[in-house]
């Protein structure tokens, strides 16, 4: 087997991974592995913006990082760790200026400063943006920076296992897709920046690559996960394709309209209206749909996102990407027609359990970005905070890894990585030997189960059903087979390997959702409709037991200066 060694391995070429690589590459031998070319990473799809209290908008002159922190904590339904939120919000202006200095083409106000727009759950217009392509410009800027610094990138290298032994990480096993070879890589420090798990759900705005296999890989290797039951559903996914229609549509003044022609948000969030946080808007839309005040369509019942009153000029200038997607994918021009939307899975608040330094329980193993749970988003993330989290904590990861390598780092052991790679080799042999079950079928059943039973509204018996189904699917997975024996560019094989990790991710979500008998943020239990701070103001930490069932323990939420209050908008 081919072996390689680096000081640092970074898995994932999105914003968090690239930012960490940029921070480390001048001092260490860094390798960035990404299962797609870095510019294809899902960060590219972020549309609306990145939050920072710059005070550039005339309406936000007295904005401050403390107010940003308050909005984030209130938005999280008080589950976020307040010390971590403070770090993120304090760092935010510096991060945005740094990205601008590196070339990021933000949209501008007439005075030449970075433009900022209103976003959901925010007391001030503090979302910095570049039309509706903010993820695209940030990812390109960081990739450009990485290229300028000569970061060593392994594009289309698919990490398939994590090598952890006696609580220390030694590296990874990765599949070089172009050559069809399994490679064992050692490193003194490994950072996962592998993104979210959207494809565990049937209706998701996420890219096809967002399987959550990185989260599952860490979990299987013994790294605990945190707050997995908190899954964000975005209010406005385009019907049929579930493509994201940015929150900026509402930030720029768009309305949500039901079949009776009402701006129904009036009933649910009379002050914030369409700009209430996502958990609240998604529940409101789902309620309208469930109670029949929706439009009917063979692809699913929907609500209208109406931009027409914004006028042609504003739509062309501020939301050109949205307009193009609508025209390309459903033949609707939002200048002339409302956009048919429904809520869809969008973001993973939970993830690999880290502290605010991106460290985990395992020595030499770090995680940042959507795959990690610090937690800065708690029960519900505010729009514009995910791009911010990726870059802030990518930068922090670089600092933490530097500190770790300068002090305590152990020499990684090659044999442990080889063992992990050999285990993957055995798995591939078994898949090739071929059972009758097909990956796409099991994946489809898993995703439909999760959308049906662990979705926006949840209830004990439904979640139980989901868990039983997941266990059955895990059994059936033993008989999965693949048809393609040639190893290079074999996506059928990669999908089959990833599916195993997806079951564990789904299981941890459902199990956490079953145990948490309250409603907080995006976790809404119809049988326990109230938030219960006495019992549940705590994080759930999931470890994996021998039989594959999650073992849940709890940890207190860090509270600094913002006392939990009732959450109204």
């Amino acid at each position: 087997m081919i072996t390689r060694a680096h000081d640092v391995i970074i898995v994932g070429g999105g914003l968090a991974g690239l930012r960490a690589a940029v921070g480390l590459c001048e001092k260490y031998d860094v390798a960035l592995l990404s299962k797609v070319h870095p510019v294809r990473s899902h960060s590219i799809a972020a549309q609306g913006g990145i939050n920072a209290a710059l005070g550039n908008n005339p309406d936000s002159a007295d904005d401050s990082w403390e107010k940003h922190a308050f909005d984030t904590i209130k938005g999280s339904d008080y589950l976020a760790d307040q010390d971590a939120v403070e770090i993120m919000c304090r760092e935010a202006p510096e991060i945005v200026y740094e990205m601008e200095h590196w070339g990021c083409p933000f949209s501008r106000f007439s005075n030449g400063s970075i433009a900022q727009r209103p976003f959901g759950g925010a007391g001030y217009p503090r979302t910095c943006y570049s039309t509706d392509l903010t993820g695209h410009v940030l990812l390109n800027t960081l990739f450009e920076k990485a290229v300028s610094l000569g970061v060593k990138i392994y594009p289309e290298w698919h990490v398939t296992a994590l090598a952890i032994d006696r609580n220390t990480c030694h590296g990874v096993a990765a599949f070089d897709l172009m050559n069809g070879e399994l490679v064992s890589l050692t490193a003194k420090a490994t950072l996962f920046a592998t993104g979210g798990y959207g494809r565990v759900y049937f209706y998701s705005t996420n890219a096809l690559i967002n399987t959550g296999s990185g989260i599952g890989m860490a979990y299987k290797a013994g790294v605990p996960l945190k707050d997995m039951e908190f899954v964000q559903f975005h209010p406005t996914g385009l019907i049929g394709t579930n493509i994201l229609m940015t929150e900026a549509c509402r930030g720029e003044g768009g309305y949500l309209i039901n079949a009776k022609g009402e701006r129904f948000m009036e009933k649910y969030a009379p002050r914030a209206m369409e700009l209430a946080p996502r958990d609240i808007v998604s529940r409101s839309i789902q309620t309208e749909i469930n109670e029949g005040r929706c439009f009917e369509h063979p692809l699913g019942n929907y609500i209208r996102l109406d931009l027409m009153h914004l006028g042609e000029k504003k739509i062309r200038e501020k939301l050109p990407g949205i307009r193009k997607i609508c025209i390309d994918f459903i033949g609707i021009d939002p200048i002339r027609e409302p956009i048919p939307i429904m809520p869809c899975q969008h973001y993973s608040m939970g993830g690999i359990d880290t502290d605010a330094t991106t460290s985990t329980d395992v020595q030499g193993f770090f995680a940042a970005g959507e795959c990690a749970c610090v937690s800065v988003h708690g029960g519900n993330r505010l729009g514009g905070n995910s791009l911010l989290e990726t870059i802030v904590f990518g930068k922090i990861a670089a600092g933490s890894i530097d500190k770790y390598l300068s002090a305590a780092a152990l020499a990684p052991e090659k044999d442990i990585c080889l063992k992990a790679a050999r285990a993957v080799e055995m798995k591939i042999k078994k898949l090739l030997a071929g059972g009758q079950e097909k990956t796409f079928q099991l994946h489809g059943e898993l995703a439909k189960t999760m959308s049906a039973y662990v979705g926006i509204f949840r209830e004990h018996n439904d979640i139980k059903k989901a868990i039983e189904e997941i266990k059955m699917l895990k059994e059936r997975y033993r008989n999965v087979g693949i048809s393609s024996p040639s190893m290079h560019m074999n996506y059928e094989l990669m999908n089959a390997i990833e599916l195993e990790y997806m079951f564990d991710v789904a299981h941890s979500i459902a199990h956490g959702a079953l145990l948490r008998e309250e409603s907080r943020g995006a976790h809404s239990r119809t049988d326990f409709p109230k938030r219960d701070d006495e019992k549940w103001l705590k994080h759930s930490i999931a470890g994996i037991a021998k039989d594959g069932v999650p073992e849940i323990s709890y940890r207190n939420v860090a509270i600094t200066r913002y006392k939990p209050m009732e959450r109204t908008y």
Binding site: V36, H37, V39, R40, H42, I44, A45, L54, V96, Y97, E100, H101, W102, G103, P105, F106, S107, R108, F109, S110, N111, G112, S113, I114, S130, T131, L133, H136, V137, N140, E144, K145, V147, S148, M178, G180, A207, L208, I209, T241, I243, L244, P298, G321, K324, I325, D328, F329, K438, T439, F440, I482, S483, S484, S486, H488, M489, N490, Y491, E492
Partner: protein
């Protein structure tokens, strides 16, 4: 009710590791609803009919640039092309031209990225960074808009007739990227930098037949970039001739 129709997909198959098996078209018959995209059908073919088929994909919403290919003779992203848009029951899929096929619809994009890196595609500054943002007017920001929109999908690179005869030509995407920085009011790269593209493999290589503009799924116009870069070189030369210094 939406009714499914029968379609015939003819897909070019080739494996770089088995060059003795010549490239050939393989036929797949599928019954799908016409509202589906080429990418959705490709996924179904790989899942349900033939697991050995290779193609790239990710965002399925025309922003990541993974799935560029030739669809019934036209270069486009598979994810944004609807099967019904051709008004035919037969759809022919081929990999992007001008790059070596690795397997089926997956091409080796290494030369594309090499050319991209050659133009130094990052903001170059000589002034120290201000404490806050570098000021830029709305008008200056609007100047670079179309070039910022490039998703590096290589549709233009595949469509360019110059690359097919001169593999050392920088190509439309790299030159459009260079223009994105040259046009950026914040960029301070030295004028001498243009010398590196002042040749037949650079801005003078373009045939200006606009194939790149036609192929771009994001309405970027690389030929405009190339013509503007040529103008800049002319102006510089004229200034030198008449002894005018900036």
């Amino acid at each position: 009710m939406i009714r499914a129709s029968a379609y015939t997909f003819k897909i070019l198959r080739f494996d770089r590791k088995k060059p003795e098996d010549k490239a050939r078209f393989q036929t797949y018959r599928v019954k799908v609803i016409p509202g589906l995209t080429i990418l959705a059908v490709l996924n179904r073919i790989r899942d349900e009919i033939d697991g050995t088929l290779s193609f790239r994909s990710s965002c399925r919403s025309a922003v990541c640039g993974s799935c560029a290919m030739v669809i019934n003779g036209r270069i486009d992203l598979a994810c944004r092309t609807q099967i019904a848009s051709f008004g035919k029951e037969t759809i022919i899929l081929e990999p992007l031209p001008n790059m070596e096929i690795i397997k089926d619809l997956v091409v080796d994009m290494t030369p594309f990225w090499t050319m991209y890196e050659k133009v130094k595609p990052w903001l170059i500054r000589s002034s120290p960074d201000p404490e806050k943002e570098i000021q830029q007017s709305e008008k200056d920001r609007a100047h670079i808009d179309q070039f910022v929109n490039c998703i590096l999908c290589a549709c233009c690179y595949g469509a360019c007739p110059v690359i097919s005869r001169d593999p050392d030509y920088l190509g439309p995407a790299a030159l459009a990227k260079l223009e994105r920085f040259v046009l950026d009011s914040r960029d301070e790269r030295s004028r001498g930098f243009m010398d590196e593209v002042n040749n037949e493999h650079g801005v003078w290589g373009c045939d200006t037949v606009l194939r790149c503009i036609e192929a771009c799924p994001k309405d970027v116009r690389p030929t405009d970039a190339i013509i503007d870069l040529r103008k800049r070189l002319f102006v510089d030369k004229a200034k030198k001739l008449f002894g005018i210094h900036r």
